[in-house]
């Protein structure tokens, strides 16, 4: 109980918000809008799972937003050319993994700081995409939206995919050696090396992993609308990092889990509909997000101060 206090407190905050909404705006809980809300967050959740791994290994990846955009547009173009979804999906995942491998190579092999490396790839990819596409939308063929299923069925497929990945990865990080390596490298890379783990390889693979998940997230986003706009991933990186950090993953590495990140993501996702239902202007959303992030890190700071005494 005490060990997971941080995660439980986020869960508590989430439940409090949901309870408040239940009392003040019961309309929030009507099934279809709620499902739509959760579906919209499904790609973010998938990327957040990857980001949790990256941050636990004491790195960061701010290029996910750009990778997300590039994968979306490329997958959209392939789909528009008549590729079947069974080929577009691996292409998108593979492309993401390739970008992730590039970041991972620079960070793990050349030992460059991840924040600058991913800043550079973020700018390069975003501007490269703008240059090639000039802001043009990609119109998707009909069979892509909701994978050719009905809307509700498609939404259920997306949500269950995201949740399935979350559960599988959370269990893997807790119970499988490879998952424990991530914590080991993030806690102390040198000790991990002495224990026979190869920190560089782990770091490289974590970046490949988040790239692949970003490609998958792009695909899940693609299925939700009839067209792709090239700016679709802008700001995703900060949203994902915020969710993960609010959820109790320590930026100093080695601490946190996916359940917390999931709760953090839901808490941030609830802000916008909560504001709407409480008749507060939607322009406050970003400010509230910022306040939540700051509150979360302040709570972390106060707690670590207490434990130091």
């Amino acid at each position: 109980m005490k060990r997971y206090f941080r995660e439980l407190s986020v869960l508590g905050a989430l439940l409090a918000v949901l309870l408040g909404l239940a009392l003040l705006a019961p309309a929030f809980f009507s099934p279809q809008p709620l499902l739509t809300l959760i579906t919209r967050e499904a790609p973010t959740l998938v990327v957040a799972c990857g980001m949790a791994c990256v941050i636990i290994t004491r790195q960061i990846d701010i290029s996910v937003g750009s990778i997300f955009s590039v994968c979306s547009v490329c997958a959209g173009l392939l789909a528009a050319r008549g590729w079947p979804l069974a080929l577009v999906l691996p292409a998108s995942v593979g492309l993401g993994a390739l970008f992730g491998a590039f970041n991972g190579f620079l960070v793990a092999v050349l030992r460059l700081p991840s924040i600058v490396v991913t800043l550079a790839t973020m700018v390069t990819l975003r501007q490269g995409l703008n240059l090639v596409r000039q802001g043009e939308f990609v119109n998707l063929p009909d069979h892509v939206q909701w994978f050719g299923l009905s809307q509700t069925a498609g939404q259920l497929v997306l949500v269950s995919t995201a949740l399935g990945l979350l559960v599988a990865q959370a269990l893997a990080m807790r119970h499988i050696a490879a998952g424990r390596y991530i914590y080991a490298v993030g806690t102390d890379a040198e000790t991990a090396r002495l224990a026979g783990i190869r920190p560089q390889l782990v770091t490289l693979l974590v970046f490949v992993f988040i790239g692949a998940l970003t490609g998958l997230g792009a695909m899940m986003n693609l299925a939700q609308s009839p067209q792709v706009q090239p700016l679709t991933g802008n700001g995703l990186e900060l949203k994902v990092i915020a969710a993960v950090v609010v959820g109790g993953v320590a930026i100093s590495g080695g601490r946190g889990n996916l359940w917390g990140a999931f709760a953090g993501l839901l808490l941030l996702a609830c802000v916008s509909p909560a504001l709407t239902h409480l008749h507060v202007e939607a322009y406050w959303e970003k400010a509230v997000h910022g306040a939540i992030i700051l509150l979360a890190v302040i709570a972390d700071g106060l707690r670590s101060r207490q434990s130091n005494r």
Binding site: L112, T124, Y283, W284
Partner: protein, 362 residues
């Protein structure tokens, strides 16, 4: 963010080694800048039908480059000390937006005279920087996450105050003079930029404060044991960043003649790029204002020079191409900075035989 830290680079100039001086980072960047400038001067200048020289090689264009690089340049100046202390401040771009909005509101809705509104805006900037500083120093929170939070908070407040739609315009002529006219031959805001650059440069290179920043960046614990007031020095760096962001906000407002909530969006990334390109180590401890200025200039010349190339003009893609090239330049600069270390590792090690038996002498 990373577990490795770089050893302090001993100042080559101090050793009086001119060859090392010619190959140090700032000089390399200067060569790149000169090459860029010469290339654009040749490829980007042309004569129009009436025989007037247009494009990159005109004084007007050069002044334009200076005018347009002041805001990002100021943010880069603000970030240099921050990064030297091994910190980061992602919130400066958002703070620029918030300060611009508040300045417009104080003047327009508050009915305050422009100088008073300016003074208050600078105060607000410093206060916002102090918020970052308190969270980072008093609570010992990681700067990346604190400023990520304030990045959202400041931009969000700017959007909330203007409800996403209000734009403050119709500033008086004598205020717009700061952003749109020339004074003593240079664009007015360039003088402000130069004074801030001088001030930060002196602080960083000619005072014990600068030395403290470096020490904190290299070894915060060591600095504490050496008796440095680490918290107060760190706080100073972030308050200063807030103050400079407010100055940039006023200049931005004066240049465009309007204050909008999205002012300065994404500027923090260009500023960080300029600082890192200028040779400041993201791990802290090393970096110079001269390098930052060169980094800003390299980005600004690239962006404006591309806009003068006929090919790019036809594509109407100067913004995107300069962004792409800036990112690529940063990647190359980063890789080049670690390449010697990597190569020396790859080179097969010579077998060092331990001579226990002395060679037989004839």
């Amino acid at each position: 963010m990373s577990t490795t830290s770089q050893a302090p680079a001993i100042s080559e100039a101090a050793r009086g080694d001119w060859r090392a001086l010619l190959t140090r980072h700032e000089m390399l960047l200067l060569y790149v800048l000169i090459a860029e400038w010469v290339f654009f001067y040749i490829a980007g200048t042309s004569t129009n039908r009436r025989g007037v020289v247009v494009g990159f090689g005109t004084w007007d264009r050069q002044f334009d480059i200076l005018r347009h690089s002041c805001e990002i340049g100021l943010l880069a100046l603000a970030l240099t000390p921050v990064i030297i202390t091994a910190g980061i401040d992602l919130s400066v771009g958002s703070l620029l937006g918030l300060c611009a909005i508040l300045f417009g509101k104080l003047w327009h809705d508050g009915g305050l005279p422009i100088p008073v509104a300016m003074g208050l805006t600078l105060g607000i900037g410093a206060l916002a920087g102090a918020l970052n500083a308190i969270l980072i120093t008093a609570l010992r929170l990681p700067p990346l996450i604190v400023t990520l939070g304030t990045y959202s908070l400041f931009r969000g407040l700017a959007e909330a105050i203007t409800r996403g739609s209000i734009t403050y315009t119709d500033f008086p002529e004598n205020f717009l003079f700061i952003g749109q006219e020339r004074w003593l031959g240079l664009p007015t805001q360039a003088w402000i930029f130069i004074s801030v650059a001088l001030a930060v440069g002196i602080l960083l290179h000619r005072t014990t404060f600068g030395r403290a920043f470096r020490t904190i960046g290299l070894a915060p614990e060591g600095a504490r044991y050496a008796g440095l007031p680490v918290e107060r020095r760190l706080a100073l760096v972030y308050v200063l960043a807030g103050l400079i962001a407010a100055i940039a906000a006023i200049i931005y407002t004066a240049r465009l003649g309007q204050a909008k909530a999205d002012a300065g969006t994404g500027y923090e990334l260009f500023a960080i790029t300029a600082v890192v390109l200028g040779g400041t180590s993201i791990f802290g401890g090393t970096g110079t204002i001269a390098g930052t200025l060169l980094g800003v200039a390299a980005i600004a010349v690239l962006k404006n020079g591309l806009a003068c190339l006929p090919v790019v003009m036809r594509l109407n893609a100067a913004e995107e191409m300069s962004g792409l090239l800036t990112g690529a330049l940063l990647l190359v600069a980063l890789t080049a900075s670690v390449l010697p270390k990597i190569l020396s590792k790859l080179r097969p090690r010579r077998h060092t035989t331990i001579r226990t038996i002395p060679p037989l002498s004839p």
